[in-house]
Amino acid sequence: MSSKINGQISPQPCPHLADFRTTSTKPFLSLHNCLRIKPPGGRASLRGNPNELPHCNTCGVHAPSRLYACISCSAVSCHSSASGAPSHAAAHAALLSPAHQIAIDIDRAELFCCACRDQVYDRDFDAAVVIAQTVASTLGGGESTVIPSPMPHPENLRKRRRVDYRPVTPDLRERALIGSCSAPIDGDDSFPEFPRGLRGLNNLGNTCFMNSVLQALFHTPPLRNYFLSDKHNRYFCQKNSNTDGDDSTIATRKKSGGNNGKTNGPICLACDMDAMFSAVFSGDRLPYSPAKFLYSWWQHAAKSNLASYEQQDAHEFFISMLDGIHEKVDKDRHKTHSDGSGDCCIAHRVFSGILRSDVMCMACGFTSTTYDPCIDISLDLEPNQGSSTKMAAAASSHSGNGEADSSQNHGISTLTGCLDRFTRAEKLGSNQKFFCQQCQVKQETLKQMSIRKLPLVSCFHIKRFEHSSTRKMSRKVDRYLQFPFSLDMSPYLSSSILRRRFGNRIFPFEGEEPDASNDLCSEFELFAVVTHSGKLDAGHYVTYLRLSNQWYKCDDSWVTQVDENIVRAAQGYMMFYVQKMLYYKATTDKPVA
């Protein structure tokens, strides 16, 4: 069988290749001197001399579709079986068997076993190709570093081990503590059959944009755990702020105007969140009015001109309130978001990921890489020519019932399709030339995004609203978008994107670790969907929540149970996914995973 390393199968060599590896004295790695890399895509080919025109030793043909170089003696032969007679490459192998059975497709840098008549794969050979490709894409062509600076220090990436779900049983000391310092609130809940934290939110006047996002946040596992674990205690926080007596406190008091008897000090959105979590999880099922939070958020948002009675955009609100939580904490601890580590505040700890952007020179292949933190990913919803390329491959490779379904699905936009488009290499226009450090002139470039570090919770925002000030018009895109309940993000990671760029070679790319934790880290489960219905200027936001594998619809004060098909068919605007290992049923049963 084959072994799985770095999330991919490392196939066992065929007997001829295995034989060659054990008996040959020529290491594969030395081949990288003969590998020519064509910019910008990194396509590798084998040439003894850069300018040679390879031809078949037997028949002298220059350009048939495949030329193979024997790995033992470098003899080049062609391989066309049109005439029915064995190809020259096969003949060479048969003649000088057993040592000359492995050959290299010189235009594709792929190993070919003439005895098995199949393409074969070898880790060391692939490593040689990748080394050559890497050298070609870095400055000077001589450095051996794979990734140029700046790069987040590996420690920041917080390697995540698989955490087994276990129900908590307090020990004697903890039980004593619980008994003396707390009181159960079970008695207050007249609906124990419904999960805690399920509670309607009153619409305070076109505030469904806020309610919908809040509902999703109340059930964002790491965020919920943070506040319910008292990690931000609003009483302590306010007490500390009041005793500070610094300028910010005075300034805020002056700004609020009116009677400040009720405002206890500076605005802290995290404190207001803490209050809301307490209220929503209290067991009281009457709809809650997030008035204080609205008041606090509006003061924060006033700086960016978002505060108005008119309908707001839920996504803008989301970004704004996370920023508000960060800002308050940032002032206290002077940590910025710039490294994407999430050390600055809980908002970033939960939602922040790191995006990698590669800009490749079309002329020489030199690649410039930058990393930026991101809170969410905004995706374009364009007319989709069907499903992703992977689906297209599936349509051709799967026989039988697969075909009917794939043809039916052409024309549907999918979340994975949007992510494919987000991470595909895109040629920048000729009016956007970048200065290439290697060529020392402005060149046309290829740009490609990928995800360097996945956040604990991924929020995908679909750009359904377009506002063009130049054309003085706005429109809403109503097109349906398919989104999965389980999402594997590994194809969009930098390691996968890089691997694909370099021809899917067997090689640990971009900080990959040779264990299974990577696979688990990239599996996500959907837990909340914010939908928008109606027109651009007269619409309504509703949130669907997935709790204990049951879907609930949160429409302001109305909380109802819905079948999952309703959610699948809904018009998703923001989709919230949490890492699978953090997603467990809030019962004593086994985890979902």
Partner: protein, 168 residues
Amino acid sequence: MSVPDEEDLTSLQSQISSHFFCDLLDSVIVDVASECHRIAKLGLDANLDEEDEELKLSAQARARLADPSNSNESNGKYVVDIFGQTHPTVANEIFDCMNCNRSIVAGKFAPHLEKCMGKGRKARLKVTRSSSGSGSQNRYSRGSSVNRLANGNPSFAGNEHSIGSSQP
């Protein structure tokens, strides 16, 4: 050898170009075959089945929704929520405004707060030509604003993403 005449020339040209084309086509086909072979052998397409399944479920869900014979409650009016409660269109909980201490009905809190805090655009909106001159009438007849593009960062080639709008 004599110079080939017109007919021979064109047929020769078309033979050669046909030959080149076939070569190119072969090359492209082998490229794709080689890549797909590698992807399959290395197990890089392992998720295809799950993706197929999700797409199928999604299609079924939409079909079921479109079928009028199915009684679905998604768009209908609510009778009771899961807690057996009903709620009026305008939330009727009453509490005190944090700014001015007046008692406000929940469903009207936001417009009140905007006036109360004196910061809404509406509160300072100048009377336009088309309005009847009354400030309040202008406010409600104008309807709601357009929703803005989520982030206003200009981008290259349309590949926009939120780079965390918090200013570092």
